[in-house]
């Protein structure tokens, strides 16, 4: 009884206390749903003839970025109330927050070109909070080109995703590196995360495979066929040329950066059998960390801790995925059967994504599909179903997306999806495009 009385009294005491201390009280099971976000087309500011073209690119990019983020329920444009929304004064809260739009958030703004410059103003409003609605207000200035308009849209989308997505930076400005045969040779290519702006990076006229960009985005390590056999090469994106990296002899494949960018893991057959080696990013301090009979390939670092390595070992016959500490101790097998390759560690260190044929062998109708495995609980979930051969999955920097190659469209192409397997989209169409790798930010 006394306690109950005290409990009743406690809030009063706290309210009257002089501390400027805020409390949020909330809990689970409250129905976590996606934020309903309305994004009316940005308004032209001024009469410049370039406005229309820039706005088209900007609006399309902004909408796609927010739609792809996977954390918003985008309100269809047909539900929007009539009238343009270009400035905060134009916002009629009631008409946005009530049905039919029933939006929780509203992103709006204007774009104006003048001469060679372009100014974009963007706002994000919590329309159900009339008294202090502004979550975000931004102004961007750039050249009046469609590339700049696209970049500005990416930046504004990332700001919105960063605020409403819980401090995880958006991926709209991230890049994807991959291998393409479009020039006649397998070269390393790059593109924006949404498939736009595809261009070649290397011109080696050889065969280049498994590009891996460094955490700071300055270099790409990849394996390439050289005169001395398969070697790890290093390409500087700052200098736009190859930089020196030691040749180790034997067949050297599938480099992988540690999350701090100081080390590379790769597989090498310099001792006869294919084993995992770790080397400094400068090429010094080569260390062998596995010594098992059978091939050991495709290392992948734990991106959160930088302490574990997942890799593929063929010691039992068919390739299986294993994990170990960075020094080769504590080896654990993760896959139990079939044919499992291409592990990649999620940014939060919680999951592995692998390409797995659960049933493999004569008479077994094996489909190669993408699976996620939870390291701690050893549970797994299948993400792709009955659609060709799916391989080389890799995580986006925000951990919400997975990119992979698939043969479902007839030829090998690069696809992207949300990390729960939904929203699968094809990004490349020309030639054969394989082995995608997402930049770290």
């Amino acid at each position: 009884m006394m306690m109950r009385f005290l409990k009743l009294l406690l809030p009063l005491i706290l309210v009257t206390s002089a501390f400027a201390q805020d409390w949020i009280k909330t809990g689970t099971g409250l129905g976590v749903e996606k934020v309903r976000l309305a994004v009316p087309d940005f308004n032209p500011a001024g009469q410049d003839p370039k406005n229309a073209e820039l706005l088209k690119v900007f609006n399309e990019t902004l909408w796609n970025d927010l739609d792809n983020a996977g954390i918003f329920d985008m309100v269809s444009k047909s539900f929007y109330p009539l009238g343009q929304v270009g400035t905060p004064a134009d916002v009629k809260f009631e008409s946005w927050s009530s049905a039919p739009p029933s939006a929780a958030m509203l992103a709006f703004g204007n774009l104006g070109a003048s001469g060679n410059g372009m100014t974009v103003q963007g706002w994000l409003y919590d329309v159900k909070n009339v008294t202090s609605p502004q979550v975000l207000g931004k102004q961007y200035q750039d050249a009046a080109t469609s590339d700049a308009a696209r970049l500005t849209a990416h930046k504004f989308a990332d700001e919105i995703i960063f605020r409403l997505g819980g401090g995880i930076a958006g991926i709209a400005e991230s890049k994807i590196y991959f291998v393409s045969t479009r020039s006649g040779h397998k070269e390393v290519w790059a593109m924006d995360y949404d498939g736009a702006n595809q261009h070649t990076v290397t011109h080696l006229n050889s065969i280049s495979l498994s590009p891996r960009v460094s955490p700071d985005g300055s270099r790409i390590a990849f394996s390439s066929m050289t005169k001395g056999g398969w070697e790890i090469l290093m390409y500087s994106l700052d200098l736009n040329r190859l930089v020196s990296f030691p040749r180790f002899g034997g067949t050297n494949l599938s480099p992988a950066w540690s999350s701090d960018g100081t080390k590379l893991a790769f597989s090498s057959s310099r001792s006869g059998d294919s084993e995992i080696y770790v080397v400094d990013s400068s090429g010094a301090n080569l260390k062998r960390i596995t010594s098992f009979k059978g091939p050991d390939v495709s290392p992948a670092w734990n991106r959160k801790t930088g302490a574990q390595i997942a890799w593929v070992s063929g010691r039992t016959g068919l390739p299986q995925v294993y994990t170990m500490e960075g020094d080769g101790t504590n080896v654990q097998r993760l896959t139990d059967q079939g044919y499992a390759v291409s592990p990649a560690w999620s940014p939060n260190g919680q999951f592995l994504v692998v390409s797995w044929m659960r049933k493999y062998g004569p008479g077994a109708p094996g489909a190669q599909d993408i699976y996620i495995m939870d390291i701690a609980s050893k549970q797994w979930v299948q993400l792709t179903h009955d659609g060709g051969r799916n391989d080389f999955p890799y995580w986006s920097p925000d951990g919400r997306h997975i990119i992979f190659q698939s043969s479902r469209a007839g030829s090998l192409q690069i696809w992207t999806m949300l990390a729960d397997g939904t929203n699968q989209k094809q990004l490349t169409f020309a030639g054969s495009n394989t082995q995608p790798n997402w930049s770290w930010k």
């Binding site: 706290l14 501390f19 409390w23 099971g29 129905g31 159900k128 819980g166």
Partner: protein, 265 residues
């Protein structure tokens, strides 16, 4: 006399208990023998053993950092479908008289008739359909129409409660509160809870969100009585690197959060 009787009585009971204990031990030993030797079932290494892989956690998808599907809402009527009836338009605002206004007798009779437009509108309007109390207005059936920026003062029923001097954080930055709620829900791994527990008392956890968005001072405020549940709740917070920086125009250095976890298997 009485003391003697008590001693004898205790001796008696001790002997009976010994017999029971013996029987029980034999039964347990027999059961273990039966379980381990006679029924060599599938109790080996669970993961990795062939055939055992079929029991997979479909719940995993909600654990990866994606917004999960609506699990539970307070509104019993909430579902994905829109309501069947259309909302009635808002009633015309009635002109309110000031409470201390003194009516002037001469002017009362000369009050203006209501504007003609509203009168004609009222004529053309179809008869309003009586709405039953349990009907969901059109477009407002889902959880979307839930409070967003408005809060329950007591913190009951999953609302947000505030105490403290400058305590308007929740009303000013409702979007941030929502982010906190969503992020913690995503990072709570229910498989960490003892699988024998069906349901448990609500566990209350408090923590601070610092200026740069990282959680600190995670504490169990009120235990659920299930240690593994308390621990999984604490871990859910500790697993989070950041909620994102606090709103830049917010003055204080941190905001304190009370978060509760309702566990039901």
């Amino acid at each position: 006399m009485a003391a003697n009787a008590e001693i004898f009585f205790e001796h008696d009971r001790w002997g009976r208990n010994l017999t029971w204990s013996l029987v029980l031990h034999l039964a347990v030993a027999g059961f273990i023998l039966l379980y381990a030797v006679i029924i060599p079932g599938s109790h080996g290494e669970g993961w990795g053993a062939g055939g055992g892989g079929d029991a997979m956690g479909v719940t995993l998808v909600s654990n990866i950092p994606l917004p999960s599907t609506p699990t539970q809402t307070q509104n019993v009527l909430a579902n994905d479908s829109k309501g069947i009836t259309q909302s009635l338009p808002k009633p015309e605002p009635v002109e309110e008289k000031l409470p201390d206004a003194i009516p002037i007798p001469d002017k009362i009779s000369k009050t203006k008739p209501p504007p003609k437009t509203s009168a004609t509108k009222a004529k053309t309007k179809p008869e309003p359909v009586e709405e039953a109390d349990n009907e969901v207005p059109f477009g407002q059936g889902g959880p979307v129409s839930g409070p967003y920026g408005t809060f329950n003062a007591n913190g009951a029923k999953g609302g947000f409660g505030f105490t403290g001097g400058g305590g308007d954080f929740g009303s000013r930055y409702a979007w941030y509160v929502k982010v906190v709620q969503q992020k913690v829900s995503e990072n709570w791994l229910k498989y960490e809870v003892d699988p024998r527990i069906g349901s448990a008392q609500r566990v209350y956890v408090t923590f601070d969100v610092m200026r740069d968005g990282h959680p600190a001072n995670v504490q169990v405020e009120q235990s659920s009585g299930v240690p593994s549940l308390d621990q999984s709740a604490t871990r859910a917070i500790q697993r989070i690197d950041t909620f994102g920086p606090l709103p830049s125009d917010y003055a204080a250095n941190k905001v304190s959060v009370e978060f509760w976890f309702d566990y039901k298997r």
